[in-house]
């Protein structure tokens, strides 16, 4: 018995976590899939009615907006946060005197929930209270910055705040990457007389491919899960111009009492996540399985 335990201890240790994940992730996904096929309203029901909820979902203009917003938001957020994170990391890598302090300043937004900072952002972006009125107060009366209240641009304010929150973290990832690049290669390039910016673009950045991947995954997962951000900043408005799938799903499940509809939107979200994460997992585990 003890021999058996000794041999199987690793599996025994992993088992509770694995079983928990099976139930609390996959079981729940299965539950959601089931409910998405029912006409559940206030509380879940289990009588299958077919794909009616999906038909309703794809008929809903609000869902269209939410999905479009996810594309816009996701693409801009990921690209800009990565670019900004990389830029900041490179700037900080130039032997800056007060690097520790600046790094902390760039990183701290990650520590705060949007529930905490949302109100401040709302003020700053509000045309009557924040930047616009401030700049106009300086005498530039033509200055306009009314994105928050403009349905066509409000989604970009969400992007701004999201970048504010996450780019510091990306910066930290990239900084860590820069610091781990083999110094000899860089010395060799310097001896060859290659200018600094070329060293970055041709040698250092390409060697950080794994970090780009990690950053991408972290950001993609934040983008898909973005919820607090929208609730705190715009509440989905103006209108439902800044709705994202996560807020749509939440609204359906909890303020509309339309759980079947919420479940179907959740399943579509899961599909999007699946499409992004599975290739990553595949490459990650293949590369390291040699």
């Amino acid at each position: 018995m003890s021999e058996w335990l000794e041999n199987h201890l690793p599996k025994v240790v992993l088992a509770p976590s694995f079983i928990a994940v099976l139930i609390f992730v996959y079981g729940f996904i299965g539950w959601t899939a089931w409910v998405s096929l029912t006409r559940s309203k206030l509380l879940p029901k289990y009588e299958i009615k077919g794909f009616i909820q999906y038909e309703r979902l794809f008929d809903s203009p609000r869902w269209d907006t939410a999905i479009n917003n996810l594309y816009i938001f996701g693409a801009l957020f990921i690209v800009i946060a990565m670019a900004l994170g990389l830029l900041l990391a490179i700037l900080l890598d130039q032997k800056i005197r007060v690097e520790g302090a600046i790094r902390t300043i760039y990183l701290y937004p990650m520590a705060l929930s949007m529930i905490v900072t949302g109100t401040a952002w709302k003020w700053i972006l509000n045309p009557g209270l924040g930047i616009e009125s401030m700049v106009q107060g300086w005498g530039f009366t033509n200055f306009e910055f009314d994105w928050l209240v403009n349905p066509d641009y409000a989604i970009y304010t969400i992007v701004m705040a999201a970048i504010w929150q996450s780019s510091g973290f990306v910066m930290a990832l990239f900084l860590a990457g820069l610091r781990s690049v083999d110094g000899e290669i860089i010395k060799a390039a310097q001896v060859d007389g290659i200018p600094t910016w070329r060293i970055y673009t041709a040698i250092i950045i390409p060697s950080m491919a794994p970090i780009f991947l990690s950053a991408f995954i972290v950001l993609a997962h934040l983008a898909i899960k973005s919820f607090d951000l929208v609730i705190a900043l715009t509440g989905g408005g103006p209108g439902y111009a800044t709705d994202l799938p996560a807020t749509y799903m939440y609204a359906m499940a909890f303020s509309r009492g339309d759980i079947g509809q919420a479940a179907s939107s959740a399943m579509i979200m899961m599909l999007v996540v699946f499409a992004i994460v599975v290739p990553y997992l595949y490459s990650e585990l293949r590369a390291k399985n040699d």
Partner: protein, 414 residues
């Protein structure tokens, strides 16, 4: 001490037969967390305690009760429902259909609720023939508030038709005053919308369009006119309205930045809190047109185990509808009592006007549930309408398109 003994005795009298020995217990889930509201709930808690009960407060603010509803759903599913929950409108019946609400008919019959509540309001408290919720108050939603000085300075009377309102608005804009203080949140857009529907279409049209969801009414020319008026309203709003809380909009009326606000009578609490006098500093009137849109807050009792909790539910239900609480609470909250036999001498002129109108409209059949505040429709239906209303208000959508979308959205919800 004497009072305590008296209170205990009366409690025993009421709940005799159900659970005499258990100390009444209640965990109350609600989203009245701020200033006047919280004070109002505190009144209830004090009375509850004075009657020997022990009150556990479970406030969850945010999103007009969204967060509270999230918590409620989780609690009910986990088999750990709160004792009493702030619920209103068809949601009460929906929860009852899920089989999780308790029957409080014994209290209601003992207290004679049927005699003191207006029939339409009593209807909201009944589920399949039994009493399942206790009404707290009646808010009137179709109010228009105005800054008296601004109106006087521009020579404007309180408008009684939408044309008058539009004329007044144009005049105000010329004078550099924001005509309408508004916050760009979906429920505020919906509040204005239902006032316009009631005003332009009349009570019958309102009933057809927003209560019965009659497709003909929804796609009618009247509805097109309603959206035309909404487009006008959008022009009367300043450009910073998006996401603004309603109380900030009220403040704009108070300090003369804006002239009017269309908002339920909770706005009055803001005026009063700022020391303004009704009839002098600010004016209240129903929005142009006939009818009365009500928003009744109520508490529903959930099925719970334990005699102490059941005793708590009975006690709570009794206290909520009792005249004393109805009066004190509504004085704090700006609304009027749900029961009609409470003397309104201590209430201000706006509340008295509200009570008068409630009586007359109830008789005329134009006492109607507010759709924007979840009194008329189920959540998925009212939500679908609000989606269209707010999308129209916040974009360049044409009225015809809006009507079409409205019909589609209603058909798509069920």
């Amino acid at each position: 001490m004497k009072r305590f003994v008296f209170a205990t005795a009366s409690t025993l009298a009421v709940v005799a037969g159900t659970s005499v020995l258990a100390e009444p217990q209640a965990e109350v889930l609600h989203w009245w967390t701020s200033g006047g509201e919280a004070k109002s709930v505190a009144v209830l808690q004090e009375e509850f305690a004075a009657n020997g009960g022990s009150w556990t407060d479970m406030p969850v603010a945010g999103g007009g009760g969204d967060a509270a509803m999230t918590a409620l759903r989780a609690r009910v599913l986990s088999g750990n429902a709160p004792t009493a929950v702030q619920l209103k409108g068809p949601a009460i019946q929906e929860w009852y259909e899920e089989g999780v609400l308790a029957d409080i008919s014994s209290v209601a019959e003992a207290e004679g609720w049927a005699e003191v509540l207006p029939a339409s309001i009593a209807g909201h408290m009944m589920c399949e023939g039994v009493w399942c919720a206790a009404p707290v108050n009646v808010h009137r939603v179709d109010w228009i508030w105005a800054n008296a000085d601004v109106l006087a300075a521009n020579g404007i009377e309180m408008p009684t038709t939408w044309d008058e309102f539009n004329a007044a608005a144009t005049k105000l804009m010329d004078a550099g005053v924001i005509p309408l203080a508004h916050g760009g949140q979906a429920w505020q857009d919906a509040t204005v919308f239902e006032a316009v529907v009631l005003g332009i279409g009349g009570p019958e049209f309102y009933q057809k369009a927003l209560v019965d969801l009659d497709p003909e009414a929804l796609t009618s020319d009247t509805m097109v006119q309603v959206f035309d008026q909404m487009r006008m309203m959008r022009g009367y709003v300043d450009e910073n309205f998006s996401g603004r809380d309603w109380n900030l909009a009220t403040a704009m009326v108070m300090n003369g930045e804006a002239a009017f606000q269309i908002m339920g009578d909770w706005a009055k609490g803001e005026f009063l809190a700022a020391g303004k006098k009704p009839g002098e500093d600010f004016l209240c009137a129903s929005t142009p047109g006939d009818g009365y849109l009500y928003n009744v807050d109520s508490f529903a009792m959930f099925d719970v185990d334990g005699d102490d909790k059941k005793a708590g539910q009975d006690l709570l239900a009794k206290l909520i509808v009792a005249p004393n609480f109805q009066k004190v609470f509504n004085l704090n909250k700006g609304s009027i009592p749900a029961r009609t036999d409470v003397a309104l001498d201590d209430f201000d002129i706006c509340a008295n006007l509200s009570a008068e109108d409630m009586g007359s409209t109830s008789a005329a059949g134009s006492l109607l549930p507010s759709y924007a505040h979840g009194m008329a429709l189920r959540g998925s239906q009212s939500g679908a309408i609000t989606d269209v209303v707010t999308a129209h208000f916040n974009s360049e959508m044409s009225s015809a398109d809006a009507v079409q979308q409205l019909a589609d959205a209603v058909a798509n919800s069920y």
